[in-house]
Structures are given as structure tokens and as C-alpha cells.
Amino acid sequence: MPDPIKVINDKCVGCTLCVKVCPFGAIEMADKKAVIDLTKCTLCGACVKECKFEAIVMAEKENKKPVSDFSMYKDVWVFAEQKKGSVQSIAYELLGKGRELADKLGVDLCAVLLGDNVKAQTEELIHRGADKVYLVESPKLKAYQDDPYTKVLTELIRKHKPEIVLCGATVIGRSLISRVAVTLRAGLTADCTGLDIDEKEKILLQTRPAFGGNIMATIITPDSRPQMSTVRHKVFKEAEPDTSRKGEVIEESFPDDTYSSRSRLVDIVEEIEETVNLAEADIIVSGGRGLGGPENFEMLKELALTLNGAVGASRAAVDADWIPYSHQVGQTGKTVCPKLYIACGISGQIQHLIGMKSSDVIVAINKDPEAPIFSVATYGIVGDLFKIIPQLTKHFKETLGK
């Protein structure tokens, strides 16, 4: 097998551009020529594009398949996740983006709804932009289960051949969609933050953060259909309902064994949390090590309450047991993207930044002017948070008339 990527030494001038651009640190200079460490290289191709001298080449795919004819694949699908019979907001977010994609391609936007007695929900899906709703109802689809959902969605895709399938990166979405993609041998890109259509090739451009969000990668699925993506909650804006919209509901049913499940859902337990769901909150006030102790979270709670927001925390504060894990924002906690994120006494470790840096407005309050959090802050205040936060609460109360 030839090297999947190689440097043509005659063409390499030793400019080191490729070394700098490699997101995986896989290129080094030796004797003024670039050398690629294949154990680190992921064949992402960043260096190939960067090289001005065409000195890096990637092997073409072997036994290149004849260009497949994808003309029978049409339409953009959105998996409309439902729980206890009601469609989750992630579906409306996907419909918003899905509408854009469908319009660019000149195809229909379709929602797929699986459940039991959920027909009433189809109207809202249409109002939110769906041209068609594929509806499959069975008592066995009442709540999500891996086997029947995988089989039904797979069969629907096989039958109707959408070119794009979007799904929420939720617990259900992530459990389901990878299995569907594996069965269909389809490409699946997780946690996309940007979706667009390449107007010329008519293919889906899926952009996602790679390696902790410090580089972005655009992923394509050139040789298989459908092109599948998951999107995290709150990444795209919900489609506004338009009650005048009309659409078609297509009911499908399958043989009984399609609905069968090897595992059995014994019970669904809800644990009520007192705080606002972090992922849903428009405003988050977060605290870190700089708070010094659990008692000082009260101060943040007051500010959060004033702003109708939720309280978040850095891993340092959670690890110190100052606040439960459910409040943790960051790589090992929750990813959030509120309209306003106020970071108090958080230094801004990379793993925290990953979880909150796409917030619309970020305010950082920290006594250390060198804290990395300031590099992502829209507004930064260097100072004593114990003096600033009570003042801030006071001023907001006045402004909001509370």
C-alpha cells in the first residue's frame, strides 16, 4: 500500500507553512524538508491545501468507485425527537436550518416523527417549515428505544431516499443516529456548528469544531447518501411558526418485527431539578475557583435570579464540591450558548472555554488580568468580584425595576 500522504522532496522548499497549519502536530522539518509522521497524521488534508508549491500529495482513493448516481436521493429530513408525545425544541431548531438547506437545493423539507398518538404534533412541524411529515405510529414507538427506532428510521430512509438527514445531538439522537448511519453505510458528522450547501457540487458542507474547538473542520460526504449530521441544542435558532403553512402528512407502517426490541424499557424516571436547565437558559452566571467557597455561590444565585438566568460553574468549583455537577459548564460538563454568559472568578481553562465560547456575549470578571478567560470575553473587568457582583446585582435590579 502506498503512503496515503507524502511530501515530494523536489518541490518542498522548506517554508514550514505546513508545519504551522497542521492541527495534529504531525509535520516536522528535517534537512529543511517537511516530514509527515503518519502515526499522528489523520489525513485531514490541511497541509495539502496550505502548500503553495504542491509538494504534499494525498493518494487518491484506491479502486475508486464509479461516480455514483445520487439523483434519486432528494429532500432534507429532520428527525423530530419527541418525549411523552411532545416534539422537542431541538426539532424546530433543525427545521429552521433545514429550511435554508432545502431552499438552496430546491427540494422539500421533511420531518420524521415516530411515536404513539402523536399525529396532533404534525401540524406544528408543518408550521415550523416542514413540507412533509413522515409519521409512524405504534404503541411500541411511544418512548425511544434503540432497536425499533433504528429499524423504522432506517427503513424510511431506504424507502424515500433523502439526501440529507439532520438529527439533534441529544441523548436520544446520539444513541440512534450512529446506528442508522452504520446500517446505511452513510457518512455522519457530529455536533455541527455550521451547515451549508456547496452550490456547485450540491453537497452538504458540515462545519464542526475539531480538537477542542480551536480549529474548525468542514466535512463532506462525497460518495454516499444520505449525508447525515447531528447538531447540538441551541446551536441554530428555532424556526418561527407560520400558521398559514400547509403540508402533507404521510403515514407509514411496518411489519410487527420492525417494532420489536431486544432490550426493554422498564421505567422512565424524572428527577426534578430546582435550577433552570443550563442548556436552555438565555443568561448564565457562572462561578469558578475565584469564588473561594460554596457559600459565595449565593451571591451568584442572586445575580442569576435578578436576570432570570441560571447558575453555572467551572470544573474547579464542581471538583471542590462547592456546587453539584449538573451545573458544570465545559468539555466534561454541559455545552451552553446563551445570549449572555457572565464568568466570575473563572480563569478560563481550555476545557471550560470549549463549553461556553460560542455564547453571544461573554462577560469576564477576574482579578488576574492574564487569565485566559479575557481572550474570549466581550467585556472584561479586572477586579475583585466580591465587590463587583453585588454592585452589578444592584444596578440590574434598578434597571429591571425589581
Binding site: G292, D319, A320, D368
Partner: protein, 383 residues
């Protein structure tokens, strides 16, 4: 500096540092504040095979020697000089059994200790500190048992340990030669515990009175033979002093690390204080002293492990030098931290408090110097 540690010693060092970093460091301030015994850390250490490092393999340990014990104590003490005592003082209580125990005693107690049962050494009394000959606790033979009466003071791991190596007088007329050592279990009738001490430092360790009231100890639990108690104590200390010294090195290293980090963060006059020569020289001296202390501790530990006979002098030397160094380096660390160094919110003051005890216990540094001097004179006369 490269001390040419064996593969196993490197593993001990890495693992103990990992425990110190991940498990001990985050809770050290809390234990210091609450003055509680760190059972959760003991559990971690036992599961990681740390508690049996110095116990022979045939009794369920790792078969390491004084050097291995020193490496482990140093790294654990880097995390917290108090919490590390749960391990180190258990070693102190176990050495009498390793050094003087018979096969039955070793089989009975060592595997338990290797798997996490805590041991303690009970020698000190109110009127017998550095002068071990002044012990008042008595052990009177009564058939198959010895009856112990008396109160031991400032016993590290007291009340938490299940196995105690106790020195008591079997024949008071003979003075130091009338002392004997016994293995006493916590739940033997007549064992009770007095007040918990509220200490300046090493507050993550338990220090407590151990009281014997007509305590019946089976005669099989006598260590060695009657009259050997003082020898048991001295030989135990010879083996354990490098451990105290290693505790001091760990505390000093942590103080150095914290001081360097802080000096690099703290800004005054528009620059970090690490750019000031006054601070630089302090840091350099702290580093030199800490490294020198480590070197003498490792050398002494290796010499003891080699089976060398006259180890009292080097053992005393390493304990004295390392503990004096720890006191100096931690005091300097507080100085580098300036006003913040004096505050409990910052780590420096605790290190200074923890360091102090190492100059005092297991023989004050004044006693150690006496030991060293008498060894010198003895050597000179022998020439």
C-alpha cells in the same frame, strides 16, 4: 537530580505523586482545618498497595526497604505533611514487628497492615519523651498474659490504628534494660483512648493518648524477649528516621514549588517578582537546600537497606538536616509569598506549621546531634 532509582522505585514515586496530586492535595486544607483522620485517603493508599510498600512480599507487601518507604513518604508529604503520616506512622508501628517479630506474629499482623489496617508506635509518655528510659507504663506477667497499666501520650495514629507496638516496663529496677515491647490490639480489653491533641501543624494526622487499664495482652504478643524494649525502640527509630526526614523533604519541595509558581505569577512594580534578584536568590537557596536534603536522605536510606550495622549516626544526620531544611525553606516560602504567605487562604503558612514537628518528633534535633556527637567520639576512640 537523577538518583538512579530502580524501575520499582520510579513506579512508587510516580504513583505516590499521583495520589498526592489527585487525592491528597485537593482535601489537605480541609483536613488541616477539621483536624480529622483521612480514612478516605488511607483506603486509596491501601488499594494502590502503598500501605505495604516496606512489608516483605511473603507477608503480602511489596518487599521494599527504607529507601522505598522514604520515596513514598516524600511524595505523599508533598501532598500533605499531615495526611502522609497515616502511612509513615503506620510504618513506625510496623517496624518493631518486621525487625523483632517471630514468624507467627509476622504472619498474623503484617498481611493485615499491608492491606490497610493502621499501626502505631506507642513509646512516648508525659515524663518520657526523648528520655525513653523514664517510661512509667508497666507490664506485669500473669500466667499466659501480661497486664499493662499506664498512659502513652502523643501517639500518632492513636485511636485510629488497630495494631500498637507498645513499650512498657517489665522490670523497673533495670531502667532502660527493664523495658519490653508488645503488640497490642485496639479491641483488647483495657485499651482506651484519651484526648485528641489540637496541634500547630500536621493536623491531618491523629495524635492521641493511648491508655492501658489492666490491659491483658497474651504472652505470645511479646516482641523478642523481656528486656529488649529499649533496643526495639532504638532500632525502630534508626529505620524510621529517614522516613521523618523524607516527610521533611516532601514538605520542603512543595514549599519550593509553591514559591516558584507564586513568584512567577505575582506582579509588583509592573513585573513578576521572580524577576527580582532578591527573590531569585531565595528561590535558588531553597532549591539547593532541598536537593541536598534529599540526597542525604536517600544516601542514608540506601545505607540502611544495605544491611550496614552502625546506622544511628547517618540516620540522625539525615533527620536533622532534612528537618532543619524544611523549617528554613518553608519559612522562606512564606517570605516569598509576602503578606499572602501569612494568610490561611494561601498554601505557604500550612507548610511552615507542618514542617516544625519534623525538628521535634522521633527524637528532637538536639538529641540527634547528641547521637551524632557520641558516635563521632566513639569512632575517634576506636581508631
Amino acid at each position: 537530580m537523577d538518583y538512579l532509582l530502580t524501575e520499582e522505585q520510579k513506579m512508587i514515586k510516580d504513583l505516590c505523586r499521583q495520589i498526592a496530586e489527585e487525592k491528597i492535595k485537593p482535601v489537605a486544607a480541609e483536613y488541616d482545618e477539621k483536624n480529622e483522620f483521612p480514612w478516605d485517603i488511607v483506603k486509596v493508599m491501601a488499594e494502590s498497595d502503598i500501605m505495604g510498600i516496606y512489608i516483605p512480599e511473603e507477608y503480602g507487601g511489596m518487599g521494599g526497604g527504607v529507601m522505598d518507604l522514604a520515596i513514598a513518604t516524600e511524595e505523599l508529604s508533598w501532598g500533605c505533611g499531615g495526611i502522609s503520616l497515616a502511612f509513615a506512622a503506620s510504618g513506625l508501628g510496623t517496624f518493631p514487628i518486621i525487625l523483632f517479630g517471630n514468624e507467627e506474629q509476622k504472619k498474623k499482623y503484617l498481611p493485615r497492615i499491608a492491606s490497610g489496617t493502621i499501626a502505631a508506635f506507642a513509646l512516648t509518655e508525659a515524663e518520657a519523651g526523648s528520655d525513653a528510659g523514664g517510661i512509667k507504663t508497666t507490664a506485669v506477667k500473669d500466667g499466659d498474659h501480661y497486664i499493662l497499666n499506664g498512659t502513652k501520650q502523643w501517639i500518632t495514629n492513636g485511636g485510629e490504628a488497630e495494631v500498637y507496638s507498645v513499650v512498657a516496663m517489665t522490670d523497673r529496677k533495670k531502667g532502660a534494660r527493664g523495658a519490653s515491647a508488645f503488640i497490642v490490639e485496639k479491641d483488647m480489653p483495657g485499651v482506651s483512648f484519651g484526648k485528641k491533641e489540637d496541634k500547630l501543624g500536621i493536623r491531618g494526622s491523629a495524635t492521641r493518648e493511648v491508655i492501658f487499664t489492666d490491659c491483658r495482652v497474651p504472652k505470645e504478643n511479646l516482641l523478642g524477649r523481656e528486656g529488649l524494649g529499649f533496643i526495639v525502640a532504638m532500632k525502630t527509630f534508626d529505620h524510621s528516621r529517614p522516613g521523618v526526614a523524607a516527610q521533611a523533604v516532601g514538605i520542603a519541595q512543595r514549599a519550593l514549588d509553591e514559591a516558584v509558581k507564586y513568584a512567577h505569577e505575582r506582579r509588583q512594580f509592573g513585573t513578576t517578582i521572580s524577576s527580582f534578584q532578591g527573590v531569585q536568590f531565595m528561590l535558588a537557596d531553597m532549591a539547593i537546600q532541598t536537593e541536598a536534603a534529599r540526597a542525604i536522605v536517600y544516601s542514608a536510606a540506601r545505607m540502611i537497606d544495605s544491611g550496614a550495622k552502625d546506622i544511628a549516626k547517618v540516620s540522625a544526620m539525615c533527620k536533622t538536616f532534612a528537618s532543619d531544611t524544611a523549617m528554613k525553606v518553608t519559612t522562606d516560602a512564606v517570605q516569598v509569598f509576602g503578606g499572602y504567605g501569612y494568610m490561611k487562604e494561601y498554601p505557604a503558612e500550612k507548610l511552615m506549621r507542618d514542617a516544625k514537628i519534623t525538628q521535634i518528633y522521633e527524637g528532637t534535633n538536639q538529641i540527634q546531634r547528641g547521637v551524632i556527637a557520641s558516635a563521632l567520639i566513639k569512632e575517634s576512640l576506636a581508631k
